[in-house]
Amino acid sequence: MNLIWASILIPVATAAVIAVANARAARSLAAVGSLASLGALAAFAWQFPAWSTGAVFPEPCGCAWLDSINATLGVGFDSVSLMLALLEAFLIPICVIGSWTAISDRQREYYGWFMLLHASILVAFAARDVLLFYVGYEFTLVPLLFIIAIWGGPERRQAAHKLFLYTFLGSLFFLGSILFVGWQHHASTGLWSWDMGTLSSFASARLPANTQFWLFAALLAGFAVKVPLFPVHTWLPLAHNQAPTAGSVILAGTLLKLGTYGIFRLALPMAPEGGAALAVVASVLCTVAVVYAALICWVQTDAKKLVAYSSVSHLGICMLGLFALNPVGAQGSVLYMINHGLSTGALFLLIGMAYERYHVKDMDQIGGLAKRMPVWAFFMVFFTMSSIGLPGLNGFVGEYLCLFGTYIATGDASTGYPGLLGPGFALVAGTGLILGAMYMLLLVGRYVFGPLREPKDESHGKHAHDDHGAGHGDLTGREVGLLVPLALVCLFIGVYPKPMLQAIGPVVERTLAPYPAAVERTLKSQPQAAEAAKAEPKEDDRG
């Protein structure tokens, strides 16, 4: 408990110190603060007793926050949220140190906002109280808005507006839903409670199916913006494209995961009837997103925008795995959240490093950089392979299990988890494997390989502080030092995902516990599907 709060409050304190400290010290302070926060969280993870049980530790406390409605400051982790929080704490030092040369003006603000962003994301992942989760979730918007709007690219204002508008509207759905559930709980039991566990079991057991349908729809609408699901994704490419490198890294790395985590943590457990009823609709959107965004990626010329759109495609697969509503897909989905954060984060970092040198990311103007920067090219190829799911690296396990889960999510109950998707969805989403290779190798083929093309003179670049950049040379020791840990983690997850799968498994099974029954009910209400399930002869054979 204390370690959790330490990891959250250290960055807040760091932000406060940065505010009063010398501007030159800001970046070092931020690095120290973020590393200390990571250390605190790692220490917590080391002695975390619930890795293999799926339980929440520590038990949420009753520490009062808003007494009148019994809102608490309850924090605690289960293995899934802890992994996501670790991902966040792991990426933040990389973001901070990665910004050392890229950010040269208003450094104190920049690093201050970054520390607050970090703290609020951690609050969201740690929260066991839905209101606290909401605060963390929503507060992330403020630092991010400033980071994009002040240190972003030429269209940063538009990007910031769009980001704010979209996610704020989305959050209203989310807030409305949880307030509704809290109010229902109060109406039904006479007690206020905002504890996630309490509300989830209350809502899933007590609310009628029709209400659950609308509850799930509202929560999905809220979180879908953050994920982002097609068709509410259009804020993301612009935000990514305009954000400074570290902003993109953390946006792709963990901010988007708040959306997927929200669906996993709140929407699915609270409204199983709604989840079962809406799984097909949501999956159709996911599947469309996979193909649609991948095709768009394929015709981008801006390297960063390409990777930004690829997030939409990837998260389509990730969400599809979740809506498969079986342990295979859901485990893959959770793992995918982490993997996507690592590999896409690293790709943004790499593109940022090249951008620092050339101030151009349009592949029509720049390319063949492997000639100039072989080490950079090595990492670029490495993380590209991670991103397109090469077995042996992290991307594969998650992507593979998501598609696998989708495939076996048929009405057939032999797995114990009947589903509503099936081979068709897996086939369409599976084209993402091909399309993913197409656009990522296009990126590598033009940006990394091919004849060297450099912009003639970048002294008219938008950034006036070229002297801080690393020139045109290959990666510096600092930059390599940022990429190596990322690469090692990617390799480790790819080679030995077992501990993570074992940790995710129990949580997933808990989350999905009400689903087999709910899906059966949904199947029965759809006569054709029920018939199809009956027609499958193997149902009996397998028993």
Binding site: W51, L131, L145, I296, G392, L441, P451, K498
Partner: protein, 746 residues
């Protein structure tokens, strides 16, 4: 985290190697065949890191691959008839619910060692070692540049190929499958500043990915049908419920087939392989001729129990193989680039292998893989030696009489030997393996594939023709050559050949075509010659099992023994000879199957199939060689005249143009798939940016503008300073908290 102790114990388990009690203790070292190439890959990475500028990476790779080969040789001695599963460590595995059959998924890093595995690994690691040695000289102009990268990728390739062949479940196979794809991508694109190489690498990876999707879906289906993807358990499950008529079980072979056709360059996915010749020649020899492209054959042979339940799928495999063999041979007849011709011949020969699989002779297919690996590697490596010596020249119109060029006599001799083997000249190894396939085609129980025997014979004649078209043009006749216009390194450093010291006058040969006085081709040295000779010996010895069988009819063919005692023969009901082999009785079955040749009832032209195919095959081969001899050695003008005549008539013009332009298949794919997709993508991109974004979202209008006005002072530079912005943020949070509280209190 909790990972640490688990990791440690698995590393310890690696050395211990849990094994069945009855298995030979040597088997626990099978993992070395994977670990050594992996180790050399890691060491190459370190070399790259430390900017090693010597041939150290090559030495490391050769040593590691040699070690892997030695391991496999040792295994060859001890592997028994029962497959052994060796668990290295747990990879993807967990269970849920009551952990019954369909309540769990297991895909660990297991090795499945049976005779087929060892047989396949034998030539993979053996040729890998020799070709790495060859490459150590071939690539030497790149020392300090791409040399380390090259050998790193070769090591990765051997590691991945090992996973593919030795893996104990379909996910391991998939890992190797994609891993060899990566190595192939990196090595085709080795000359990464050359746009064609980058494009070819990309094309190879993407086309393969199409097949990979099939493989992935097949994997899902296999689990769905049988509840496991581990070979050992899978065979048991199939045995328990063999003839499943569900569409799921029936669909598995079709999807596996797609994967195999991608990796092994068959119709309709063969288009990547000719382009893959952009890679350095040792890569073409190792990956794109001898080993990786046979992975599809391995896949089908390994998964044969899943194929036998579906005769339609087998017939499709046979037809795809046969048609690919024919199509690629016709294209190969009309190309002028030596490497491309060998590439098309590889596609064509792979077609034979699939034809063999489809008509049920996994032995014939595997045997042809084996013989083909040697002679095709030999042909590529000799082509590489020529290319190496003649500054990248590969045009068969510009090279002639190399047998008489000093320093190239050995290379030329070996190349001509390779030509005889590729043409399946009577009593060469390829003659026997091809014979086996064609006999099975003629005698297959499935009537639908008999025609393929005749197609196979036609292709045999075409093969002999185009093979010796190269052989006679390049190695015989008057001495005449033009150097190529490329420096060996393809790099813009431009001193590729200076490394050899003896011929420094290449600076300007781009403008000196035909002025031979200024160009001195340099012959290869020992590191190229030794592997060439050894591979040639291998090509000759590949026929050894058949010679022995021929001399002594009771002696089972060694290759057949390897294949029969594996899953490739399980449920052999689809086998053309009607033998029913299982694991237990397989040793008897070898003899039985041999016997079966004599007493099957199919007659071809009044003779029994074996005799007929032997005679017709010989005839086809010799006819092809004789035509080639006339057109490409005795009277070379006649070939040009023939081409002119054909071009002159509207009725025949299409034959020449079509074959020379590769039947426009690339263009067809471009127009029918790539361009429409590109168009759709552009439209979607425009929709996304304009309609969804500008139209709908910005159409909401007022809010963004209002928000913008709200925040503009903060970041517009009017109000500077962190304090204000930060205070604004805090105020905002405070507002939220109050709002929440108000809402909550209601």
């Amino acid at each position: 985290m909790i990972a640490a102790p688990a990791m440690l114990s698995s590393v310890l388990a690696l050395a211990e190697g849990p094994l069945d009690a009855h298995a030979a203790p040597e088997l626990r070292w099978a993992g070395l065949a994977l670990l050594l190439p992996l180790l050399s890959g890691v060491l190459c990475l370190l070399c790259g890191w430390m900017k090693v500028r010597s041939k150290l990476p090559a030495a490391l790779t050769i040593a590691a691959l040699g070690g892997a080969f030695a391991t496999i040789l040792r295994l060859q001695g001890v592997v028994g008839e029962t497959p052994v599963v060796i668990n290295l460590f747990d990879w993807i595995s967990w269970t849920w619910g009551d952990a019954s059959r369909f309540h769990g998924f297991t895909a660990n890093v297991d090795l499945y060692v049976d005779r087929l595995t060892v047989f396949w690994m034998l030539f993979v690691t053996g040729l890998g070692t020799l070709i790495a040695l060859y490459a150590s000289e071939y690539m030497e102009s790149d020392v300090g540049k791409g040399y380390t990268r090259f050998f790193g990728a070769v090591s990765i390739f051997l590691f991945a190929m090992g996973c593919l062949v030795m893996g104990g479940n379909l996910v391991m196979l998939y890992l190797g499958w994609e891993g060899v794809g990566l190595a192939s991508y990196l090595l085709i694109g080795y000359y990464f500043t050359k746009p064609e190489a980058v494009a070819a690498a990309k094309k190879a990876f993407i086309v393969n990915r199409i097949g990979d999707l099939g493989l992935a879906l097949a994997l899902f289906l296999t689990w769905q049908c049988y509840g496991t993807v581990e070979y050992a358990a899978l065979w048991k499950a199939i045995e328990a419920a063999p003839a499943s008529s569900e569409w799921t079980a029936q669909a598995i072979p079709w999807l596996l087939m797609l994967g195999a056709f991608g990796k092994s360059a068959q119709l309709p996915l063969y288009v990547w392989l000719p382009d893959a010749m952009e890679g350095p020649t040792p890569v073409s020899a190792l990956i794109h001729a001898a080993t990786m492209v046979t992975a599809g054959v391995y896949l089908i042979a390994r998964m044969f129990p899943l194929f036998v339940v579906n005769p339609d799928a087998l017939a499709a495999v046979a037809w795809v193989g046969g048609l690919t063999a024919l199509l690629a041979a016709t294209i190969g007849m009309a190309q002028y680039d030596m490497k491309r011709i060998w590439a098309y011949s590889t596609i064509s020969q792979l077609g034979y292998m699939f034809l063999g699989l489809g008509v049920g002779t996994t032995f014939g297919a595997s045997y042809h893989v084996f013989t083909h690996a040697f002679f095709k590697a030999l042909l590529f490596l000799t082509a590489g030696a020529v290319m190496h010596g003649f500054a990248g020249q590969l045009d068969i119109r510009k090279l002639s009489g190399l047998l008489k060029v000093p320093g190239f006599r050995l290379v030329s001799l070996l190349a001509v030997l390779g030509c005889f083997w590729l043409a399946a000249f009577p009593f060469t190894a390829a003659f026997f393996s091809k014979d086996e396939i064609l006999v099975s085609a003629f005698t297959a129980k499935d009537e639908r594939v008999h025609l393929l025997g005749w197609i196979g014979l036609v292709v045999a004649a075409l093969t002999a023709y185009y093979t010796f078209r190269v052989g006679f043009r390049v190695f015989f006749g008057p001495v005449k050559y033009e150097p190529g216009d490329e420096h060996h390194g393809h790099d813009d450093h431009g001193h590729g050949h200076d490394a050899h010291g003896s011929h420094g006058s290449h600076g300007s040969h781009g403008s000196h075509h035909g002025h031979h006085a200024e160009f001195h081709p340099h012959g290869p040295r020992w590191a190229i010659r030794v592997p060439l000779v050894l591979i040639a010996v291998g090509a000759i010895l590949a026929g050894w099992p058949s010679y022995r069988t021929m001399l002594n009819h009771d002696e089972p063919n060694w290759v057949k023994t390897q294949v029969v005692q594996s899953s490739a023969y399980q449920g052999g009901s689809a086998d053309s000879h009607g033998s029913h082999a299982g694991h237990d009785e397989s040793s008897n079955e070898v003899a039985h199957a041999e016997q079966a040749h004599a007493d099957h009832g199919h007659l071809v032209l009044g003779m029994d199939a074996h005799t007929a195919v032997g005679r017709l095959g010989s005839l086809a081969c010799i006819a092809g060689i004789l035509v080639s001899l006339y057109l490409h050695l005795i009277n070379r003008g006649a070939a040009d005249a023939l081409r002119r005549t054909l071009m002159g008539s509207i009725a025949t013009r299409w034959i020449v143009v079509g074959a020379e332009r590769k039947w426009m298949v690339d263009e067809f794919y471009d127009w029918v798939i790539r361009l429409p997709l590109r168009l759709i993508a552009n439209i979607l991109s425009a929709i996304d940016e304009l309609l969804l974004d500008a139209g709908i979202v910005n159409g909401l209008g007022a809010l963004p503008a209002a928000v913008g006005r709200l925040f503009r002072p903060l970041y517009g530079g009017v109000v500077q300073g962190y304090a204000v912005t930060m205070a604004g943020g805090v105020a905002l949070v405070a507002a939220w908290v109050i709002w929440i509280w108000l809402r909550g209190a209601n």
